[in-house]
Symmetry: C2
Subunit: 308 residues, 2 copies
Amino acid sequence: MIAVDWGSSSLRAFRLAADGKILERRQAALGILKCGSGFDAVLSRQIEGWDDRLVVLVGMIGSRQGWLEVPYVECPATISNVAAGMRKVDAPTLPGRIVWIVPGLLDGAGTRNSAEVLRGEETQLFGLMGRLDAQRHVVCLPGTHSKWAMVKDGCVESFTTAMTGELFELLCKHSLLGRLMTERGDTIDPSACEQGIVRAREPGGLLHHLFSVRTSGLLGTLEPRQLASYLSGLLIAHEVLDSACGEDLRGQLVHLVGSPALLEPYSFVLRKLGITPELHDEALLAAGAHQLTMQLGRLQTSAEARQS
Amino acid sequence: MIAVDWGSSSLRAFRLAADGKILERRQAALGILKCGSGFDAVLSRQIEGWDDRLVVLVGMIGSRQGWLEVPYVECPATISNVAAGMRKVDAPTLPGRIVWIVPGLLDGAGTRNSAEVLRGEETQLFGLMGRLDAQRHVVCLPGTHSKWAMVKDGCVESFTTAMTGELFELLCKHSLLGRLMTERGDTIDPSACEQGIVRAREPGGLLHHLFSVRTSGLLGTLEPRQLASYLSGLLIAHEVLDSACGEDLRGQLVHLVGSPALLEPYSFVLRKLGITPELHDEALLAAGAHQLTMQLGRLQTSAEARQS
């Protein structure tokens, strides 16, 4: 089978063996916002030469802006709930393929302004749960919008979102703070990141603390190349200390799922705050897509058995 | 005399009577970032026809990017401290004029990453103190960077900053939240603003709450035209509840100084949080510049008396 992580800004395709092992990978900067409505043509080109019949799409491709809007599945959500919510795409221009889209998750439906949504992370979470025991676990998936999920015994119980990644990018690119960042290193500056964590623990709140990026730059407490690391420590520490995940994490273990560039600052901050990070790479998505497909097959088999 | 509020994005000139009364006003979108280095030519044109000898400049014109960098005066700062820090500009191209620049304030000098700076608000604060009794008062000056000052008996004791205004603009213009704001009203939507205040009181922190602007838009809890008011209520309530000013304000009176467009949402949020706002317009700047100039005159007279 083929699993495709198709988000807003990029597409990652995995060719999987029958046991879920990754055989080949491809990647392209062809997110759903860059495809017009020609999703079938883009997909056809990306998986050319891979003759697998079954194609499973994950992520924003199932949103209103995607190929087919697939309704969210509500939390708590088991792998069976999510597999049952998968929708088949009508793809006549892709002969010999069967294309499915995985639904995203919705939590807090019916609340006034505190509902949560995600698309893509559900598949990573099911991939991760294949490696975990049946106990309750806290999972953080950093990104443009970080997701914090509580999972237990094959079920996504609940999740929350923090806009940390998007805010970091906005502040670096478009704000008065960014103007002082005339140099920027490739990796985290540990001293500056730690100073950001210290600042986050002081009173006054994030809106107040953000201005310290500017004064520390203006007054020379931090060098220009250190400011992004300071901001990163400040924001991530606020995300954790303000309990964006819904609870106090001190002393707990948190599973971190993401790209190495994001896992580095998150694991640094978690350790400094007395939380133990356990790192997992993004290939969990392939494992999750494989498990969802197996589950879909079981659901179809039992439905056919009931019909006959 | 002439008082000029010369900030990053605009210039406002006031012609004052001997008693400080405003006789005429002019305004131009000629902030210091739009003048190149021709500050004298811009000023000359803006005050043309006003034959007053004394010109007092206030704001970012005294920063490193301005006409002459005037060193900050440290808090606690009296009007006498600030007048003594005023610097005369060498302006041979402005015959018949004497041009002074008012210094900004610095608080928390020597702290690691919690120093504060301002330029321009000091003059508004001295203008305001001319109207207040000698008790301690809390003053909020909303703007790109809101300033919260504690003043007492003619002295600016301390102040803090919150990046609320800049963050609001960034999120509306450049973020995924802004994309949902397809319509935007001219005034605050009270219901949406109040829902933002309610959200700010819930646990999880600002980074988490920001995402609710998106979900409330996506799921239809709020209409597109309400989202900016919701965000405004959310941000200002966080600024106040997280004690960006350094203390708990419930039950207190807060003096608000700013433009009508900013006073509206701030006074709405303060009232909803049980804080009494007292509104003052930005013309306080002219009063403050007049008082600083009187004080400068007294300092010069006593210096001359000592010399002779």
